[in-house]
């Protein structure tokens, strides 16, 4: 008898998805599938539009990471018009981008991923949310999380035009220079962000790392996959969110590939499965061998843990210290434990805050030289950034007037899709035994993908309250034998 368990929609996920779990006669997991909803029609929508509209259009794809799409798109336009932005423009872009990273990573840790660890993986459901986090860490910290995010979002608006959909990126630069007054505001915001990053890491140390049971969960085989890792690095192989080359390390941590964004199609291919709308990315150089890990399988990961693994260090001092501590505690590089993404995310938050501070204090940041006017005839442009959730590619082809003839986006969650599917399957097999399924057990399955902070970009904003979590159990003839509504 096969029983089917459906978790739908996945709770606390940005965007919505579904997990189907099939049980065998013994009540153990035969197979678990992770599915995401379809995002329809983007390529068709882009064709025929002027390329310079793309940073505004693509930033509207998703309410969660508009700044990442805006930046990847703006860089694709630089490449399309073969134009190099002035140094000050690049610095301002990276300053805004770093600000965005701090506030986005803070949202994930405290509101979305945090409840699993700060409150506890199998804590009662009613406590496993932001209120539970606040009870554990204190109201003062709660107020600080909200106040810091507000301050940082105001800074993004100040430089980027609109926080929801930034409008400042142009091919060859940006639309608005920073004044001395703006600079002062960024300096103040950065100082607060660095403090925030340090105490967030301290909370992780105190609440998670000092709890033996949590550490055992993080390092358990159930949440471990030995795959390749990809991330952007600077010229010294240090993590960079805004620019650089893509570096891929193999499951032993050795450099396997290093390439420019323009060469992504030589190295990244997509695999299609009949049961999922998403295309699963893999490394062409290794090949698709199915949903398996190891050096023979082209499955790779992106996002915080992957970025740390794919680099040789962090470019700022405090984050570099935290980076060393991370690998020392978890047994050297690379770290293959999916749940270590939460820790890696906080190290990245601190790096972004320190980088913000460096750039805000850079005298060049108020330079009025912010634009190189493009003159080349456009044909093809490719841009890449590290979005909070992983590597993001934008690729446009145009006619000679700059009108889009073809557009391709590879979003972070697509890069991660194969490993997420494997993680969900493995976690389900690891925690569901003998047909015993309760709320805490299901949460242990959901944690496997929540660590990636997956985002499906296309999330609709249908109003809350009408879509409860549903668990369905079917017999081998697919007759519904049990339904649990988790609302």
């Amino acid at each position: 008898m096969t029983r089917e368990v459906v978790i739908d929609p996945i709770t606390r996920l940005e965007g919505h998805g579904k997990i189907d779990i099939f049980l065998d006669e013994q009540g153990n997991v035969e197979k678990a599938f992770f599915q995401v909803p379809e995002l329809r029609g983007f390529e068709k929508f882009a064709v025929g539009r002027p390329a310079e509209d793309m940073p505004q259009i693509t930033s509207r794809i998703c309410g969660v990471c508009p700044t990442a799409h805006h930046m990847a798109s703006t860089k694709a336009l630089d490449d399309l018009y073969k134009v190099e932005p002035p140094s000050a423009a690049k610095k301002i872009r990276e300053l805004v981008y770093s600000t965005f990273f701090v506030e986005d990573h803070a949202l994930h840790f405290f509101f979305l991923g945090g409840p699993d660890f700060v409150v506890g993986p199998t804590a009662p459901k009613a406590q496993r949310n932001i209120l539970g986090v606040l009870s554990k860490v204190g109201l003062e910290i709660g107020r600080e999380v909200i106040a810091v995010r507000k301050q940082l979002r105001d800074l993004i608006s100040l430089a980027g035009g609109k926080v929801i959909h930034p409008v400042f990126g142009l091919p060859g630069g940006i639309s608005k220079a920073l004044t001395k007054e703006d600079q002062e505001k960024f300096i103040a915001g950065a100082e607060r962000a660095v403090k925030f990053g340090l105490f967030s890491l301290q909370i992780f140390q105190d609440v998670v790392l000092k709890n033996k049971q949590y550490v055992e969960t993080i390092t358990s085989e159930t949440y471990t996959h030995k795959t390749y890792y990809m991330g952007l690095v600077d010229d010294q192989n240090r993590v960079n969110f805004y620019d650089g080359q893509l570096r891929v390390v193999d499951p032993n941590g050795k450099e396997f590939l290093k390439f420019k964004a323009q060469d992504y199609l030589k190295h990244v291919a997509e695999h299609v499965e009949p049961w999922s709308y998403i295309k699963f990315c893999y490394l062409k150089d290794v090949g698709w061998k199915g949903f398996v890990d190891g050096p023979e399988s082209g499955v790779y990961a992106v996002a915080p843990l992957a970025r740390l693994n794919a680099a040789e260090g962090m470019a700022t001092p405090k984050a570099q210290e935290a980076y060393k501590e991370f690998y020392k505690t978890l047994g050297g590089k690379p770290v293959h434990h999916t749940l270590a993404n939460h820790w890696a995310r906080l190290i990245e938050l601190l790096y972004a805050a320190e980088r913000m501070q460096e750039l805000a204090n850079d005298p060049e940041i108020t330079s009025p030289n912010i634009r190189t006017i493009p003159t080349a005839t456009p044909k093809e442009g490719i841009g890449v950034v590290e979005a909070p959730r992983g590597t993001l590619f934008h690729h446009y082809q145009t006619d000679e007037k700059g009108v889009i003839t073809k557009a391709n986006l590879i979003v972070a969650t697509q890069n991660n899709a194969a490993r997420i599917a494997m993680s969900v399957d493995k976690a389900a097999r690891g925690v569901i035994k003998g047909g015993k399924i309760d709320d805490g057990i299901l949460n242990l399955v959901e944690m496997a993908f929540r660590a990636y902070d997956p985002c499906h970009g296309c999330a609709t904003h249908a109003l809350p309250g009408q879509m409860p979590l549903i668990v369905r159990v079917y017999d081998s003839c697919r007759n519904l034998v049990r339904e649990i509504r988790r609302d």
Binding site: I61, I130, H461, A462, P464
Partner: protein, 157 residues
Amino acid sequence: MKTLVLGLGNELLSDDAVGVLAARALKERLKDKADVVESALSGMALLDLFIGYERAIIIDAVKTGKNPPGTISELSPTDLSVVLAPSPHYAGLPELIATAQRLHLDFPKEIKIFAIEVEDPNTIGGKLSPAVAHAFRKIVQRVEEQITHWLAPSSRT
């Protein structure tokens, strides 16, 4: 009496755009009466948009499948799931309000939600479906009436 009108949705995604488009249409009409804000965010990420307002109206798409497309429902936050369900998309508002209360934030005492039942909230570049386009005019009018009612001397406390 500071009032917020918040239109939620993704303007690229067919019917999901209805809240944002309604807010855009109301911006000029409600000048001096309320702050009109558009947002593609949801759940906890919306928290700081509400801070400092005494009253708020939310305009959003809803897909229950229980009502025909274009149906407008007027809800209060307590009509939404009272359980602190953890999805930022589906149960974010009760959690958000509870968080604001716990942290003693300056948060609206009264929130009204105008929910428009939609048909297709998933196609990029789609237009509003006919039933939702029809409801669009009604929703703009209903929000305006609500604001007028709030501003009327008799409703002041």
